[in-house]
């Protein structure tokens, strides 16, 4: 069973720390091609999320059965099956999204995010962990793609989620060059924000450790012991006061 700390790590890794689009720069082809509108971004993101969850869970379930020599062909068959199912469902129920995703929908089979998670995570971890990893990696891909889609749609089409906002539009943002520009900008902004938060958290941790050392708690590894000791002392003092 997965504990809370592991769940937190898997979710933060997928959504932020190892975000496939903005940190690992994986799945660039659909990111550039399908971020012309926010709806396309959400559609592609959710399709990839569904496939990631299912393929990760199944690959994890079969990880002890699939011989190492044929693991990649086996993963590709499994992923291709789920991609075909998604294609059938979209073609039947959301034909407009199916049309707009075009060739990039079948190309999910060779999407390096899905193959990467299958190879590096699902093949080595239990089913629940792998399904969670698929869910959060997919959500990380979805929000990044949607954000890029929103920026490109607002600037390139003067609309958001298909609803027209104004007449002003810059054609550049609808083009391939605009896609690269917005993608690069998003990576830079995300990296800048991520680093500043990380630095601030490290600084806080450092000051906490330094305070603990100065307070006579010895080295940093003893901070928890010190905290426990302080709490015990405070409880004892409160008890003593009540008794008096």
């Amino acid at each position: 069973m997965m504990n809370a700390k592991r769940f937190r790590n898997i979710s933060l890794d997928g959504v932020l720390r190892n975000n496939p689009t903005l940190r690992l720069v994986l799945g660039t082809c659909p990111t550039l091609a399908l971020s012309t509108s926010a709806m396309n971004g959400i559609g592609m993101g959710l399709a990839v999320t569904f496939i990631l969850i299912c393929s990760n869970a199944l690959i994890s379930l079969l990880r002890k059965v699939i011989p190492a020599a044929v693991r990649i062909p086996a993963y590709v068959i499994i992923i291709a099956t789920f991609v075909t199912i998604v294609r059938m469902v979209l073609d039947k129920f959301i034909p407009s999204l199916y049309e707009s995703m075009g060739v990039y929908l079948p190309l999910i089979v060779v999407n390096c995010i899905i193959l990467g998670r299958a190879e590096s995570f699902a093949s080595k971890n239990p089913v629940l962990d792998s399904a969670c990893d698929g869910l959060f990696t997919g959500l990380g891909f979805t929000w990044a793609l949607t954000l890029i889609g929103i920026v490109r749609e607002v600037l390139g089409s003067g609309a958001i989620f298909g609803k027209e906002l104004w007449n002003f539009r810059i054609e550049f943002f609808g083009s391939a060059a605009g896609a690269f520009f917005v993608y690069g900008l998003m990576i830079a902004i995300f990296d800048g924000v991520y680093r500043s938060i990380e630095t601030s958290m490290r600084r806080k941790k450092f000051y906490r450790q330094a305070d603990a050392v100065l307070a006579g708690c010895g080295d940093a590894s003893m901070i928890d012991d010190c905290a426990r000791r302080d709490r015990a002392e405070a409880t004892a003092t409160e008890t003593h006061t009540e008794e008096n």
Binding site: L62, P67, A69, I78, I85, P95
Partner: protein, 202 residues
Amino acid sequence: MTVKQFLKSNAFKCILVLTCIALVASGLLAILNDLLSVSDEERTARAIRSIYGEAVGYEDLTASLDATYASNEYGSIDNLYKLENGALMFKSTGKDGYKGGTVSLWVVAQVDGNGDFVSFEKVVYAENSKQTLMSQFKQSTFDVYTVHNDKIAEGGYWWVTADDAHVSNLVSGATKSSQAVNNAINSALYYLRNVRTGGDAQ
């Protein structure tokens, strides 16, 4: 290697596992295909909805296509429908595209009481083969085919370069694909003219 050794070998295990996965996957997909497949009628209704923005009744005339003219020098007519507003809707495929590929269009043509061509009402992209630059063809490119009906009604055809006999519509940088697009229109035009005149039209 004996049979027993082969059955215990890693190679056999690999073959067995891959075969099992492929069989289960194909069985699952076969079942889902039966449940989720989209019929030709549904696709036609979708195409009409995408052209008119609403459902329009139609009669399928594909079975009564005149084979002599359906396949012609410009391409072929894949399907023919008569819409309830009297217009004829072709699914027309133009040949001679990039790398010998094709472009298919939905072409809606208005005809008079005698079946003579009056105008192209709507032209909408359907599909292509081998045309890597089709993304450069916007709906505005196809709308051009609906604004020179007078010239076309006189007997001209569409081409990538304009001359006395042809009207031009070209996407710069995608000349071969433009040719296939023009051919799809011309194929519908050729069919209409020749079916009416018994093959006398040029």
